[in-house]
């Protein structure tokens, strides 16, 4: 009765109260999924009077294609048969690490060849050591000259006094 209705079951025994539904791919009409409405028409309502969109009972759910494992499609196989391999992506995948490796190898040889031409004497430890400022002993410093440095004394200790001692 309605244009959007795409499937109507035969008359079923209401006493069963069950209908097994196997979703058909043709119902999707080329789409990945579709929303559908299921309504029940009892026998006391005529076909002309029953409109699924205005029925007081209805259940909406989604029908969709199941999961698919990606494999080489027929189109891809046809292209391969014609000698067309769309493998430019593999060149890109291989080129990036190759560039890195070549760079590092070149850098190694460059450093090897220029090893006699480098002068790092100004940052060697002996140079840095010679630049350290020697401030001398504390007592020779003018600021601390008057300080009297006491010798170490033992801390007072608790002496136990007992009757036995």
């Amino acid at each position: 009765p309605e244009k959007a209705t795409f499937f109507i079951t035969e008359w079923l025994n209401n006493v069963d109260g069950i209908f097994p539904l196997e979703v058909q791919e043709a119902w999707l009409q080329g789409q990945a999924y579709r929303a559908i409405l299921v309504t029940i028409q009892p026998d006391y309502i005529n076909d002309d009077e029953f409109l699924p969109s205005t029925a007081d009972n209805g259940l909406e759910f989604i029908i969709k294609l199941g999961s698919k494992v990606f494999k080489t499609t027929k189109e891809q196989l046809a292209l391969q048969d014609a000698g067309i391999y769309n493998d430019s992506i593999y060149y890109i995948i291989l080129a990036i690490p190759m560039c890195v490796v070549v760079t590092f190898v070149g850098m190694y040889f460059f450093l090897y060849l220029t090893k006699g031409n480098r002068d790092f004497s100004d940052i060697k430890s002996s140079v840095l050591k010679s630049r350290h400022r020697v401030i001398g002993r504390i007592k020779d410093i003018k600021k601390f000259r008057g300080i009297k440095n006491h010798k170490y004394e033992e801390l007072p200790q608790f002496k136990k006094v007992s009757k036995q001692n």
């Binding site: 109260g17 559908i36 759910f61």
Partner: protein, 209 residues
């Protein structure tokens, strides 16, 4: 390493395929019942000669796909037993009983009439052969954006569930929902209409491909 386990050859002459059987219904009337297997579930199978209280039954998941439930006895109680349908598949009759009929109860006036409700089970000649759990209002769910609309008469599948191509799902409904508005007779036959609808904008493109 481990030994290779060779698969057993398939028995092409299996006896497991359900065969038609004859039963007596309504006193002497006989009929041939042909079992049907749908989604691994055998409908109208010949009942076992000995009734098994732990006989497996079939429940339905939220999307309407079947799942077999095996009852078991734990601590003296049956777990996962076949569900009881309360009085949903019973008919109620009211009988009037007089003072004498009831054997002169001491707290009843002799002129009064006592009305008693009697529940009688529906005819289960055909429904008893269905191993799938039946739909009752107890199994209704809430639907709609605010989950405030009852799903009657449907119990499964739940609203907006995804049903995949080539898989089998069971649509179930409460049979007593469809009563004639005038005669109050329960509909004998029904049929399902499947209609395309426009999907809500909020749900669009949210489906995993």
């Amino acid at each position: 390493w481990r030994d290779v386990v060779m698969p057993r050859p398939k028995d092409t002459t299996t006896t497991e395929a359900p065969k038609p059987w004859v039963r007596t219904i309504y006193d002497s009337a006989k009929e041939i019942v042909t079992p049907t297997v749908i989604a691994g579930i055998t409908f109208s199978a010949e009942p076992d000669k000995e009734s098994d209280p732990l006989k497996p039954w079939v429940s339905l998941k939220k999307d309407g796909s079947p799942v077999t439930i095996k009852p078991e006895i734990k601590n003296g109680r049956t777990k996962n037993a076949y569900p009881s349908y309360s009085t949903y598949f019973q008919n109620v009759y009211t009988t009037s009983l007089t003072y004498e009929d009831l054997g002169k109860p001491q707290n009843m006036d002799p002129d009064d009439i006592f009305e008693k409700e009697i529940f009688v089970d529906d005819d289960d000649t055909y429904t008893s052969l269905n191993p799938v759990m039946r739909c009752t209002p107890l199994s209704y769910f809430q639907k709609g954006p605010a989950k405030n609309i009852l799903s009657e008469p449907f119990c499964s599948p739940r609203e907006k569930t995804n049903l995949k191509v080539d898989d089998t799902y069971f649509i179930t409904w409460y049979t007593k929902f469809f009563t004639h508005p005038v005669t109050e007779q329960i509909a004998e036959k029904v049929r399902l209409h499947f209609t395309y609808v426009k999907e809500d904008a909020r749900d669009k493109n949210l489906h995993k491909r």
